[in-house]
């Protein structure tokens, strides 16, 4: 490995313009996150205090080892949905350390709407449990939700069953689950604590039942108090649905730490490790490297040099298929195989990527995809040379490698380029996005051109002649739609990634993610390495 050289001119006007632009995006991200996490009206906080409940972040703080990092995922879920009334989809998910063990935390936020489930809440729980299953992470469920928002039941019900099925699969894989019941777990939600291996309930406030007192009265005429029907003492001494009853949330969280401490400690998968080393080139300079427009190109090696240990990189096929940078490096001491785009994918670039992935699969090295891709090259020359065939090979190998994959959307991630680079639908273990990134089926301008032509041709066939104003209106309608739906905030709101990250946090986020993925064994079943 050699130290990457940097050719960035930090005194240039372009660098300074990019830097201003990206610093503003980073500040906007920080503010948005801060607001989603803790901007709650006073009456909501007062109500929690009245119920003797702690805010969800305080609960998590009490659970985790003091001073340990918490990798929060999907933290801007629902930020562009439901008129913003469900910040973070009223759920906090992330990977933290409890008694020295990495665990996945899923915690309801009942400060608003009683912690009700929205459709995105359901999908967020499902995704969190998938992360736990793929990376063999024990789960701590922190339950406190009024249940499904019934006005949106169809979309919620469409996915909710996955939650309980995944809990059963986790158990079959030998992955422990603990539930701490701080509030209501009604109807379907009653199955979450019941499917856990161990369950702690807080007296007077935690309750688990298929139907609450009003519904039971309506159904059978029977009258009950909440405690009689599904309280902590009933479940821990009579029904056996739960295991421990405690008086306070603090007690519950202390006990939860004890329970996790009893679980078996797992060995991490064998992986080439070395002593971590900070990048030689200053990661702060990423702000001046990422362009201020998604259409503008940049050198991905400059990004790699600011993410990897010592800025050291061993490049594979450095003179071939130069729109794809491939090579090996270490991040926080974990060895990774990196694939980064330096523009559109040509046949040579696709073939190089394919061989590189096979090499990493052979050696059990996790893959990191750094996206800045607008797709595969189009045009007569490229079609005749079988660009689709080379793309198909890349997809085939990428989908079937047995090593973990992690994606970061650094800038553009469009069309089949996103697929080839292990975008969300190709199930990488984690996928993160920078706030400047954009992802869609094609660019807004191309879509606007195409759709405007189609609509205008349709009108003309019917004998209508659209005025220039009408044509401009059609174009602007399509452009607006594309610009809204390919925006990083919209995509993260709809869980198309595991979170927006400040480019400066990329290295730490990847370090924690690599540590998490190595909890699952890498089962190697590589075929031969093809020189294609």
């Amino acid at each position: 490995m050699h130290r990457l050289e940097s050719h960035v001119d930090t005194a240039s006007p372009t660098y300074r313009a990019y830097r201003d632009h990206n610093l503003a995006l980073a500040a906007e991200l920080r503010e948005t996150l801060e607001k989603a996490r803790s901007d709650r009206p006073q009456h909501a906080l007062d109500r929690l205090a009245e119920q003797q409940k702690l805010p969800v972040r305080e609960r998590i703080e009490l659970l985790l080892d003091r001073g340990s990092p918490f990798l929060e995922v999907m933290s801007l879920a629902a930020n562009r949905h439901y008129d913003g009334e469900a910040p973070q989809a009223l759920l906090v998910t992330g990977i933290g350390v409890v008694n020295g063990r990495e665990v996945l935390v899923i915690a309801n936020d009942s400060s608003l709407k009683g912690g009700a489930w929205y459709p995105i809440t359901t999908r967020k729980i499902v995704r969190a449990l998938e992360i736990a299953l793929e990376n063999r992470l024990p789960v701590v469920h922190m339950l406190d939700s009024g249940g499904a928002n019934l006005h949106l039941q169809d979309e919620i019900y469409a996915n909710a069953g996955h939650i309980f099925k995944l809990q059963c699969q986790l158990s079959a894989e030998g992955i422990p689950q603990l539930a701490v019941v701080f509030g209501y777990c009604t109807a379907g939600a009653a199955y979450t604590p019941t499917l856990c291996d161990q369950t702690i309930m807080v007296r007077e406030r935690g309750c688990v039942f298929l139907a609450g007192p009003p519904l039971v009265k309506a159904a059978t005429g029977e009258e009950n108090t909440t405690e009689e029907l599904g309280g902590a003492d009933m479940h821990t001494s009579i029904s056996g649905v739960a295991d421990y009853a405690v008086d306070t949330e603090q007690e519950a969280l202390g006990l939860a730490r004890d329970v996790v401490g009893i679980w078996a400690r797992r060995e991490k998968s064998d992986s080439d490790r070395r002593e971590p080393e900070a990048p030689f080139h200053n990661p702060e300079e990423l702000y001046g490297i990422i362009p201020d427009d998604v259409k503008k190109q940049f050198e991905m090696r400059e990004v790699i040099a600011r993410i990897v240990d010592g800025s050291m990189f061993h490049e594979f096929k450095p003179h071939y298929g130069d729109t794809m940078v491939t090579g090996w490096a270490f991040i926080w001491g974990f060895k990774v195989g990196i694939l980064g785009n330096n523009g559109v994918i040509f046949s040579e670039a696709a073939n190089k990527a394919t061989t590189f992935m096979q090499l990493c699969d052979r050696d059990g090295i996790p893959l990191l995809f750094l996206h800045n891709v607008t797709g595969f090259m189009v045009g007569r020359e490229y079609e005749r040379r079988g660009i689709t065939k080379d793309g198909a090979k890349m997809l085939m190998v990428q989908a079937n490698v047995t090593v973990p994959k992690i994606s970061v959307l650094c800038h553009a991630s469009q069309g089949a380029g996103n697929y080839a680079m292990a975008g969300r639908t190709w199930d990488p273990r984690f996928v993160y996005a920078w706030p400047n990134s954009r992802s869609s089926i094609m660019g807004p301008e191309q879509a606007a051109d195409t759709l405007t032509n189609v609509r205008v041709a349709g009108l003309r066939r019917r004998g209508e002649d659209p005025s220039p104003d009408e044509i401009a209106r059609i174009t602007s309608e399509v452009t607006t739609y594309f610009e809204q739906t390919y925006h990083s905030y919209y995509l993260t709101s709809d869980l198309r990634d595991d979170g927006l990250i400040d480019p400066l946090d990329t290295r730490n986020t990847l370090g924690m993610s690599l540590s998490a993925v190595l909890n699952a064994p890498i089962v190697r079943k590589p075929g031969g390495v093809l020189r294609i």
């Binding site: 050699h2 050289e5 190109q297 490049e315 523009g343 040509f346 189009v378």
Partner: protein
């Protein structure tokens, strides 16, 4: 077994170094001149024997940089990355050509203009992506073949620099 390296000391030019090991001794050939010697661990450093002279030596390695203390002096030596070197010495013609088909969206130079290596000549857009076509060396623009809005095929000439004259004998 023999290995070749390019090593620079301080800010100076790189030397070509060839190391051939035989048993516990080695022949180090620097710019064509061979030196025979051996290097053995000794205490917290090494013992270097070169021809008939033996000296204590300390090494500290960080990335591609080696700090070396010996003969009462300290040096900072740099291992030159062969990939970077081959990139830097890649043949650059007088004419900047299009790496792929596309459209010209900015022309930053005109004939007669002096340009420096790395300076942007034209900006092209292809596949929703803008790329800068940069001067690969210092020179004077001979011809600009394209204007804003022009489309072009892969390999089309975009900007030509005046050929470099052989230095005249003074």
């Amino acid at each position: 077994m023999s290995r070749s390296f390019d090593i620079s000391i301080g800010e100076g030019d790189a030397f070509s170094v060839d190391v051939a090991r035989h048993g516990d001794r080695a022949t180090v050939t620097i710019e064509g001149r061979p030196y025979h010697g051996s290097l053995r661990p000794a205490g917290d450093g090494y013992e270097l024997t070169l021809e008939d002279r033996t000296e204590r030596l300390w090494l500290f390695v960080a990335g591609d940089t080696v700090w070396l203390h010996a003969f009462g002096q300290a040096w900072q030596a740099q291992l030159v990355d062969p990939v970077e070197r081959s990139r830097a010495t890649a043949v650059s013609g007088d004419t900047a050509t299009a790496p792929m088909p596309g459209t010209v969206i900015a022309v930053n130079v005109e004939a007669g203009a002096a340009v420096g290596a790395g300076q942007t000549l034209v900006v092209i857009e292809s596949m929703k992506m803008q790329s800068e076509i940069i001067a690969e060396r210092d020179g004077v623009v001979d011809r600009v073949f394209v204007a804003i809005g022009d489309t072009f095929d892969r390999g089309a000439a975009l900007v030509a620099l005046e050929p470099l004259d052989e230095p005249e004998e003074g």
